[in-house]
Amino acid sequence: MDLAINPFSSGTRLRDMIRAIRACKTAAEERAVVRRECAAIRAAISEGDQDYRHRNMAKLMFIHMLGYPTHFGQMECLKLIAAAGFPEKRIGYLGLMLLLDERQEVLMLVTNSLKQDLNHSNQFIVGLGLCALGNICSAEMVRDLAPEVERLLQNRDPNTKKKATLCSIRIVRKVPDLAENFMSAAASLLKEKHHGVLISAVQLCMELCKASHEALEYLRKNCLEGLVRILRDVSNSSYAPEYDIGGITDPFLHIRVLKLMRILGQGDADCSEYINDILAQVSTKTESNKNAGNAILYECVETIMGIEATSGLRVLAINILGRFLSNRDNNIRYVALNMLMKAIAVDTQAVQRHRATILECVKDADVSIRKRALELVYLLVNDTNVKPLTKELVDYLEVSDQEFKEDLTAKICSIVEKFSLDKLWYLDQMLRVLSLAGNYVKDDVWHALIVLMSNASELQGYSVRSLYKALQASGEQESLVRVAVWCIGEYGEMLVNNLSMLDMEEPITVTESDAVDAVEAVLQRYSADVTTRAMCLVSLLKLSSRFPPTSERIKDIVAQNKGNTVLELQQRSIEFSSIIQRHQSIKSSLLEQMPVLDEANYLVKRAASIQAAVSFVNSAPAATSGGPLKLPNGVAKPPAAPLADLLDLSSDDAPVTTSAPTTAPNDFLQDLLGIGLTDSSPIGGAPSTSTDILMDLLSIGSSPIQNGTPTSNFSLPAIETKPVPVTPQVVDLLDGLSSSTSLPDENAAYPTITAFQSATLRITFSFKKQPGKPQETTINASFTNLATTTFTDFVFQAAVPKFIQLRLDPASSSTLPASGNGSVTQSLSVTNNQHGQKPLAMRIRMSYKVNGEVRLEQGQISNFPAGL
């Protein structure tokens, strides 16, 4: 752009500059033009060029609006304001208001000029000053200039008066202490005729009421009559072209007076009664075909709701709102919904009548309206209408769009939870919500659902069947999938055998294999995330116990994940494979049904949102410790200490540690015993310390890792049989565990126990105690080979905690004939140094050869009868 800019004048006219800037095609061009102009302006300012100051300031303001820095112009504003001519002052004040804000120090410098201008003889200049003061003054300036403004309130020119009044509003906002100064002035202003002054005066009164209670009282006493008169006059006035908007004379005045009446009438019965009539008149008389009329009606309704109105008036208000609700104009409906939320506090019944319309609004195209309507519906829900309302909302959930689904889902879930009349209904609703919008459902919602299912035993069959069906239908909703998988795992038999059917259910045929198929499908789905897959693995494990024929197949499925790159899944699959393969004996007890989750407890915990990390798997979402966790090891509640004590692994005893192969099965076993796991370190970390762990276990060592966090304490099947002060929760946990371990029958002497049983080997212990030596026990161990091949080189080893001493006598033979055709016996002698305080516990290990191959088995015996 080649504009010849004379360096000695400020060059271009304003409009030329604007045209030049608009003609720029790129940002760089624009910057160049702006820079040139700024330079010229800066030069002109520093030279004190008088001629074009006005134009330069205007240019500067334009440049400011484009977003460029213009600090160098601030002082020029001040100089312009101090100039004598009106145009200069005007542009100076405009510049001030645009380029500065009240927080800047420079503003203070204007105070003196302002004072002079406020005292000027030219009314327009006074007006300029008042305007600037009213828009951007700071608190200090206010204190300096308040007296001037007060004086101006009495000025005879209405234009000045109204500006002064509005300026006073800002003064009172900035320095509320000054409110009392303006009280009487405000009251007398209300007697004016000029609408501009009236509007400003009413506004000032409102501000005073907000700032000072004393002012409120004063105005209430003195102004009410005047206000009613103003409203009546303007409402009844004939056509006044100057003030007419939409057929109504000065709706602005109407609205402001109504608002002030609301402030005065709030909480005051007399005042409210006094304005009753005029309110009724305005409400009924005002036409509502134009926006102006509706604005007035809106204010009326607000006022009626805000004061102590008569019931007749309230009914009137609700009716107006009802009309608004069915108006086609979106604005009106939005406003109505807003009002209704406040109206609920006043008269719920009346609002309920409009429920249908409100429900329609939930489905509106406009997002602002939908949000308001949803909030309103939420407030409207009560015991009687919760079922139909929820049904509507859930129906809508199906078709609503994505951004709204989240809000809607959250609201539905909280409604359902709050008003869950009966469990069946709750279940149904949640199922529908999960099917439609499971991805938006928050974790604690579906946790709560599981807690409910666990508590509602009569509904478990129904739940699992419905979930199974839902899983087939809406498999992409993650939460639904998780809940379904958990249920199928837990309540698999009910699914397959159609147990505990409810009346309206139709039987479905699901075979064991179908159930496994369903879970397998989820597991292998590409989109399933780690948590879901982890849950699937657990579920499969449970099914392998509930449906023994499928065990092999499940083993294969689980084994597929042994090499999974996600540590969590790999670990689980390895461990579970191991359980399935090797530990048939404890498998079924391991996988008994979960104990009923304590609902009250759960709710408390959830409320406190404890993030009790679940032991060795942390991918579980924020599950409370009571939550339905995907661990076969059940709930991780009690701290490590008591259990550890139980085994008293801190005792210092000798025995046997063969080198511990750090294979997974070992770790797994340790886990079972709940030793040495912190939850943050996944087992992956454990192998490196597994030798230590093993050491601890078998003998000595420091006290086991008391990390205070719950470790998986699936532990010891027979603990419950011990009269030991074990943490009660542990007992709860194990309630469900019946014993695969045979309970001793009532026997005065110490009963024989099956210390160990696997697919290939059984060991029984029988006990004898010497009278007079209660601490010593002689155990006669008997080994039986359950397999079909003979075992040779049979070696039995045992380890005990520190406080016990053990002596092994040689075995009767080292060959175990097959299929139980004879057994080997060995005698052990144990001395319990803490007899009576701590029970016996023992770890055993057997090694033998089969067809030349070495086999190892190990186990733990804790089902020693009491009193040993």
Binding site: R103, Q203, A365
Partner: protein, 140 residues
């Protein structure tokens, strides 16, 4: 009260801003950017109110310009729509069939007119005739 007035073009260019509450220069830019994004993307059939940061913003589109006014949560939105229209009608009367270009080249006059309608974020004059008379008297 009205916290600020914003006039933005369809392309997001700012034509007029007036701030009645304290906002620093940086905050102002941010606010403008946010609101532009919020308002310019709304469809034509939707209501004229958006909720933003706890305030309500009332806007109306006139040809290629969006007139936005940010009010407190307890103000009467329908009335503010009327105030916006009041302003536009006065501009129209003054410029004679006002268009965006008028407001660009005569922005300072638009400001003068706004200053006769609002002070301290409150309405000053409900008579269009009075406003016109005052503006004329000050020979702007």
């Amino acid at each position: 009260m009205i916290n600020f007035v914003l006039l933005i073009s369809r392309q997001g260019k700012v034509r007029l801003t007036k701030w009645y509450s304290p906002y620093t220069q940086k905050e102002r830019t941010k606010v403008i950017r946010e609101l532009s994004g919020l308002i310019l993307t709304r469809g034509p059939k939707l209501c004229n109110f958006v909720e933003w940061r706890g305030y309500k913003v009332v806007y109306r589109r006139y040809a290629s310009l969006y007139f936005c006014m940010c009010i407190d949560a307890d103000d009467n939105e329908l009335e503010v729509l009327e105030i916006i229209h009041h302003f536009v009608e006065i501009l129209d009367r003054y410029f004679g069939s006002v268009c965006e270009l008028d407001l660009i080249f005569n922005f300072h006059k638009a400001y003068y007119i706004l200053d006769e309608i609002l002070i301290a974020g409150e309405l000053q004059e409900s008579s269009k005739k009075n406003v016109a008379r005052l503006i004329a008297a000050q020979a702007c």
